[in-house]
């Protein structure tokens, strides 16, 4: 079980978080159909570092982008997102 550095709560157990999807597979609202479906169904699976969307569901409930090595689970960053982060 990983330890995820929530930007709001500090390091917390993975069991408090829920994984949503990779940043890569976010479908923008204005994406043309073909591009949207490619993003949705043709996912990258890099053997290395990737940006992932997680949510601290059983904590502060905020969303964040976690930069994680998919083989070693080394976490190199975790940043807040959403309107609050824009302020």
């Amino acid at each position: 079980m990983m330890r995820i550095p929530c930007p709001h709560c500090g390091p917390r157990a993975q069991s408090e978080f829920i994984y949503e999807r990779t940043v890569d597979s976010v479908v923008p609202l204005d994406a043309p159909s073909q591009e949207a479906m490619t993003k949705l169904f043709t996912r990258n699976n890099p053997r290395g570092v990737d940006d992932e969307i997680w949510r601290h569901t059983y904590g502060c409930r905020a969303w964040m982008i976690l930069t994680r090595h998919r083989v070693t689970n080394e976490i190199s960053g975790c940043r807040a997102i959403g309107p609050e982060a824009l302020l």
Binding site: M2, R3, A13, L29, A31, M37, L40, W63, I81, G82
Partner: protein
Amino acid sequence: MINFSFDGKAYTAQEGDTLAAALLRNGIGLVGRSFKYHRPRGIMTAGVEEPNALVTVGEGGRAEPNTRATDVFVYEGLVAKSQNRWPNLSFDVGAVLGLAAPALSAGFYYKTFFGSAKKWMFYEFFIRKAAGLGNAPTQADPDRFSHRAAFCDFLVVGAGPAGMQAALDAAESGKRVILVEQDNILGASLIRDPQELDAAWIEATAARIRAAGGRILTRTTASGYWEHDLVTLTQRLSEPGQVPANGVAQRLWHVRAGQVILATGSIERPMAFAHNDRPGVMLSQALCSYVRRFGLIPGKRVVIATNNDDAYKTAQALKEAGAQIVAILDARPAPAGANSGHRVYNDAVPLSTKGARHCLKSVSALVDGKVMDWDADLLAVSGGFTPVVHLHMQAGGTLDWNEDAQAFIPASSRQNVTTIGGAAEPQPIFKMVPVGKPKKSFIDFQNDVTLADVDLAWAEGYRSVEHLKRYTTLGMATDQGKLSNMAALGRLAEKQGVAIPEAGLTTFRPPYTPVTMGLLAGAGAKDAGAHVRRLALYDLHAAKNPIWQPLGYWFRPRAYPTGGETLAQAALREAKAVRNNVGMTDVSTLAKFEVSGPDAAAFLEIICATTVSKLAVGRGRYTFMLREDGIVFDDGTVWRLDENRYLLTSSTGGADRMATHISYVRQFLCPHLRVSAVNVQEHYAGLAVAGPKAKAVLATLVGEEPPRHMSTVPASIAGVPVIILAASYSGERAFEIYVDASQAEAVWAACETQVMTVGGALYGLEAMEFLRIEKGHLVVGGEVDGRMTPHDLALDKMLNKAGGFIGASGLARPALSEAGRRQLVGLEAIAGAIPEGAMLIPSEGASPQGHVSAAAFRIVEGGSVALGQLVDGFSRHGEILITSSPTRGQKARVRVVAPHFYDSAGERYRD
């Protein structure tokens, strides 16, 4: 003196005995029968690696099968039973399987799959009967299991000399230290081999660790190493089968450590020779433990076979205890062992043993090329040492090959883990080649795998170590190859013609030793397995003693039976009240979101697939939501409460999913919108009043004309502010009333009084289901099943023509509007009742073309009706089909119709 029983016979043990020690003390050599061939087996080790002496300990719900006799400490009244034998251990009918050994060779199980199915059925019967370990208890476990989290700077695993010293150094330098030891006393190898560090050192060191703030946990196994230095510990607070002192049998620790130090030592290897599995053959260090720790000698005439120096310590211990050492067979050439003072034979490799069911009688060996025999009742073997690298490997570590020790040792790791002591530096050994008959030379005692089985797997083309494991079952079951893996790997490497490190390794997975299921469940068992969400009006409902229905985490009244009614009778009475008069129900669990801000309508038109912005203030509409791929995933209503304030409702079951979806869209896709979307599901309690008299009831309650259908007004009932939504799920004129949950009781009571005054009734989920099916309304999880598009559900006319909603691009895919898709239909029984969940077939024996998603009946007139999905269903109204449920043996002929059985024009909503 402690009393215990084994296979129904009473024995006594001494304080501190393991069950294995106690059995040996009582002269019991035969303890179990082997897995496949039912060969008699004794006690081979003194630790958790024991492959043979598996017993069931305890009785009733506390019984723990497959417990290693070496890993349970005897307590007063312990009840142990041997396993895998019938009718008893000495006379085991299954042992004839040993005679059939050639038929049960490697992969025999897979080979039975070939040939006819009938043949397999025949084999299976006997295989299931004969093979196996202990039986799982059938009663519930009466004990409790707790979970605990802990944090430390240093977690030290193993309290041998290296581990204790490391824990002491860390603790005295001010670090938070946890030291764990799977045994019930500290010291590990020092207990059998004190060297210069004796019991006094152990005691003093432990005292210093504690004094420096360190925590020492005995009878605790570090069973799993997970990500980011999380280690799970399993702590036995009572022995297997024992009644725990305070009700808690075991504790599971989740320890997040800054640094993990593994001082896990090594496990001695057996040797491969013919009949090396006989009771009376024991590992050398195990024998040394029995002599020094437990003060017993389980034999009179001892032969020791070794390829290293360590076995001479056992010889020394035996000599001090007064046992007779007949011979030491040292595989190494002279002068190894020359000065030991024992009768040493060099270049000596064991060949075979002879004996009876319960004991060993003689040992033969090849000494410098010549066969020699010795009469002996105990044979101690030492084939080398395998470092315990399990946790290191679970942590994602790599291994190096140590040629001198013929063993893998820990190399690097991506986690903060270091291995010290014997696990890092195993003793050197002499590499020896087995000379006994391969067919009787066991390498995996627990799974009855011999050298010949490895050879056979190789001959049949199983080249990789992973295939070898699956084909022969080597390294499986409770010991997970702790004794066997290296011997098998050596043989495989020999066959491959490569060095052992090139032959590869199987994966080390948690747990290190077996863990009981109850421990993993902890307090989250039975009713506590899932939490319960209570309605704000729970107490009011409970007072009426309804039939409850679980719905997600909620419990909702299913029906309110009175006067001995059955569920069906009560639900029908309640549904009739709604159709003919007025009914009232709790709808608090519906998902509710308050969306406000200048961009609220724009945001809702992203979430919802229908228009929203066209709603006038005070009006509402039906809406539905799509997934990104264009499939309908929820539906509900949306209401414009104010210029920039909306209330969105959706299904109870999809509430959490919808909350996450809305949050994701808001945070990720539309961070720029000026909108607030708040989950108010539990802020509001809700009740629905439905029926021909609903309007009159409402008018009395609020003192004014109630809103017309699909309109909303703020109002006040019993002095409490409420929001009234004129919406109908039942098909009747109806109102949903939302109120601050903390003030809901007064509103409910006022409404109930009025409903009862006009002769109405409360109704539950069952009646609601009847009503909505008859009306042809959808339910999420029923008709909306994660496969249907808006077209399939005939919702496409409501789609927002302007697009821009989630799922619009997914929905544009041609396949989602092609012919041949399943479409929503109504089904009307020609005779009989339509079975829910049944398949729809055009004729007997034909392939299914759809299914029944919900079945009910016409509430007033009677007659079975249902909703279903049918291939190209929209164009097939009038067709006669069969609804068939072979599993329930139910069948009915149905006519395909439009999915509305009641007031399809919506006349009853109008005032």
